[in-house]
Every structure is written in C-alpha cells, then in structure tokens.
C-alpha cells in the first residue's frame, strides 16, 4: 500500500538519484520515499522539471495539482501500464448498449442514494437537537423506488437530483454550527458548506482516480456521466457512491466538532476560499478516514475505506466481463 504526500510549501520538487526531494526557499528539504509513494498532492507553488515528471511516471506516481485557491486543476497521470483490450471493448459495449448502460448507472445511483439515506438515518434524532429526519428519509426511499423504474439516464439523473435536494435541505439540521446552507451551489460556491463540498469532492475524485489507475479499467468510459473529454468521468461515477461515506460524513463531523469554522475561510472572499490551515486540517482528517478499516463480509478480511474503492473497481470489472452482476457498495454497518 503506497503513501500519499500533501505538499503545501512553495519551492522545488526534484529528482535526485532515485529520490524525490522537496526543497523550500529557505533551504530545508525532505525526501519523499519514491518507492512507497503512490500519490503526491501539490497545493503550493512548486518548480519542477521533466526529469522529475519522467521519474514519477516511471515509478507510477500520480501527481494531483490544486491551484492557489484550493481548486483542483488536474493530475499528472503516468502512462497506463495496466491495459486490457478485452476489458476496454467490454467497457465500451456496456456504454453503447443503452440497456446495459442504464443497468450500471442505476446500480451506481441506487448505491449512492442508499448511502445518503444511511447518513440521514445516522443523524436522525442525534446531536442533541432531536431532529426528526424521518420524513426526508421516507421521501428518499420512495424516490429510490422510482429510480428502479427509470427508463433513461436523464430520468435517472433527475431523480438523483431530487434526492440530493432533499438531502441538502436537511444539512442545517445535521450540522450544529449556524450556517445558512440550503442548496448546493458550485461555481462559485457561495457559502462555507458549498466551499467545503467542492474541495472535498475533488479529493474523493482524485482518490478514485488513483485507485482506478491500479486496475485495467479505462477511466474515461463512464455510465452515469457522459464519457469525459474534460475529466475522467468514470471517477465521477464511482465517486458518487463514496461521497456520502468518505466526504459528507467528514464534513458533518468536522463542523460538529468545530474543527472547521468560519475562521478557516478567507472571510473577504465570502467564504469562497479555505485558508491553508483549513485545508491542512481537512487533509489530515481525510487521510485518516481513508485509512479507517472495516471487516469485509465477502472477503473475510479487514479493508480500508480507500481499499473499498478498489474493490468497487473489481466488481465493475466482473460485471462488464459478464461474470457477476455488479452490486454497488452500500454502507452495511
């Protein structure tokens, strides 16, 4: 299991022999152990050269880049080494055939909405407020039932949008801090929670990308989202399933424990930008969450949250090879 490095410093990232070294302007340096590194997240302003990129590529290290404001810019993704023509053909077949495509898309969204439901169930009657989320839970369940009958992707996505609307409308009840959050606004996010969601969703996306990279799945061929030209859209599909467990539970907990407050945002930016301290706190917590483990029922092994994503890829591989019908990950504990 490889390691992830998060770099906030400005300075230089370079290859020295078989090492990757970060040096800060004041001359301090740190060696990232390249043999055990899987991913490097860059938040600072770093100089680097092709010698470094060739080396990270050779070591199968993915570099994820974020801009000054903490928005995801892209990833430097090494040449694919795991390629299966057989699987690619089947992946495409499952996209082109609408029946096959919707079957997969449905399972993704049914799993995602199950996990949303479980988040509400978890907070129902909790956190001292005695909030009653029952009604919303029921609504979500009935929308999930409608989802099962959806006939095309648009219909499916429409229902999913309604589920998210109901879900978001209850965040003020789940979160103890006094934040006015009613709906998801993306570009630009207009309050603390929206900014948090944007930042954390991009983390989940990059983690999914790193896990897909370790399999033969092609990240551009997707089922809910349009196959991407701008993004690796299969990552978006799979991320839907894990956002409630990994991202959203973390947001609730960070806010309810007051680990993240208004002070972590640039107030003058209208809460658009997280300060470095805020980003760091989130990343530390995010990393911890990815390493959390559960006992997996089918495998009879302990697996981390991060590894659940890889297992999801394996299930998808088996589905599109027509070996075993895909059942999406649903929170079971």
């Amino acid at each position: 299991m490889g390691e992830t490095f998060y770099i906030f410093n400005n300075g230089r990232l370079k290859r020295k022999d078989n090492n990757i070294i970060v040096t800060t302007p004041d001359g301090r340096s740190k060696n990232l152990k390249s043999e055990v590194t899987d991913e490097i997240y860059i938040f600072g302003e770093l100089d680097m050269n092709t010698k470094l990129l060739n080396f990270t590529s050779q070591q199968n290290i993915i570099i994820h880049l974020f801009n000054y404001y903490g928005f995801y810019s892209g990833s430097f993704y090494p040449r694919e080494t795991k390629i299966s023509g057989y699987l690619l053909v089947n992946q495409v077949k499952h996209y082109e055939n609408l029946d096959l495509r919707i079957e997969l898309a449905k399972e993704f969204l049914l799993s995602a909405s199950h996990n949303i439901y479980r988040n509400l169930r978890y907070y129902n009657g909790r956190n001292g407020k005695n909030v009653d989320l029952e009604k919303s839970m029921k609504e979500i369940q009935s929308l999930r039932n409608k989802m099962k009958d959806a006939e095309d992707i648009n219909q499916l996505m429409g229902i999913e949008g309604n589920i998210r609307k109901i879900y978001y409308s209850r965040w003020n009840d789940i979160v103890n801090q006094d934040i006015n959050f009613n709906k998801r606004v993306k570009r630009p996010p207009d309050n603390m929670i929206n900014s948090l969601i944007s930042f954390i969703n991009s983390l989940v996306y990059t983690t999914v990308l790193s896990e897909i990279y370790k399999t033969q799945l092609n990240p551009t061929i997707s089922y809910i989202h349009q196959p991407g030209t701008k993004r690796f859209s299969l990552c978006l599909d799979i991320a839907e399933i894990f956002k409630p467990l990994i991202g959203e539970r973390m947001i609730f907990s960070l806010l309810n424990k007051n680990q993240i407050t208004e002070d972590d945002f640039e107030i003058n930016s209208n809460y658009l930008y997280l300060k470095e301290t805020g980003k760091k706190k989130i990343l530390m917590e995010y990393d911890k969450r990815l390493m959390r483990t559960i006992k997996h029922k089918d495998l009879n092994r302990t697996v981390s949250y991060r590894h659940l994503i890889r297992l999801e890829c394996y299930k998808i591989i088996k589905h599109i090879s027509e070996e075993k019908r895909y059942e999406g990950f649903k929170i079971w504990w």
Partner: protein, 163 residues
C-alpha cells in the same frame, strides 16, 4: 491459436481461472516483466551473455553448457508438477526453435535435491494436448469457477475472485 506463454502454461497447473484472467490481460501480479523465450531468442540470437533468463517471478532459467541444459532453481517442491511441466514446455519450445536441449534440471538447494527432467515423445504429445486445452479455456466467455483452495488465500487474484 493464441501464442501460449510459459506463464500461461504454468498457470494451467496452478489454477485455470487465473489462466483465463491472465490471458485477458487482467493481470494482478505486479512488477514482473515477462520475458518470453521465443522472443528473446529471436531478438538476441543466442547472445552468450543472455544466458540467464527471467521468465516470471517463479521461474528463473539458467542455461548451462551452451544451450544444452536448462537449469532452474526452486525453493520448495510445493508445486513441483507445474514446475516440471513448465520446464518441459520450455524444452519443447526451444526444440521447436531448433535449440536442441538435452535435459532440464530442477534444483532444490535447500532440500539438497536435484531432479533431471527429460522431454519424451509422450511428453510432446501431452504438451500439444495441454495447449489445446489452454486454448479452449482462453476462449471461454466467462472465467472458470473459483477453485476455493488453500492457495487462494495467498493468490494475487484473491480479491477479484472472491468479491
């Protein structure tokens, strides 16, 4: 017929499901660059310095005595059958390429044992048979069932098989 590699031949004796996955390039074992004998011979035309050939993580073949004897060192005799047959398969392939191998040696230094392997006419027949069977497995639409054997626990495909 698809070219049967040494690894695939070996997997035939280990697990047919693994064989199937592997032949679809759903390879779970990382870090083993496979060098196939046939290719090697074509490219290097018997260069003397290329006498130690790593075929995969299990098999490391040494040529001793000027391409007459192939030699393989193993730690344990756990999957001896597979190892013997893989060695025979290499002898078979090499013979087809015109390299006349006399014998193979399976060496277990830890057990202080050596096993000399010869390729008989019968073996050639058996190998042809196996190649045909391998071909059939590769052409299956879905992989053969999980074997549910103790080796599964340590197999790189465990999660893919059991999830």
């Amino acid at each position: 017929m698809k070219n049967v590699t040494g690894v695939i031949f070996y997997y035939y004796f280990i697990c047919k499901r693994k064989l199937w996955y592997f032949s679809k390039d759903l390879n779970m074992e990382k870090g083993n660059e496979l060098v196939e004998i046939g290719k090697l011979i074509d490219e290097n035309s018997y260069k003397r310095e290329k006498k130690n050939i790593l075929i995969d993580e299990n098999i490391n073949i040494d040529f001793i005595k000027d391409w007459k004897v192939i030699h393989e060192v193993k730690k344990s005799r756990k999957i001896e059958d597979a190892a013997i047959w893989q060695l025979k398969y290499y002898m078979y392939l090499l013979k087809e390429k015109g390299v006349d191998i006399e014998k193979g040696i399976l060496d277990y230094p830890l057990l202080r044992r050596r096993n000399e392997i010869y390729l008989t006419e019968d073996d050639k027949y058996t190998i042809n048979n196996i190649i045909e069977k391998i071909d059939k497995i590769q052409n299956l639409h879905v992989p053969p069932a999980v074997i549910d054997a103790p080796i599964c626990k340590k197999c790189a495909y465990y999660e893919l098989c059991y999830i």
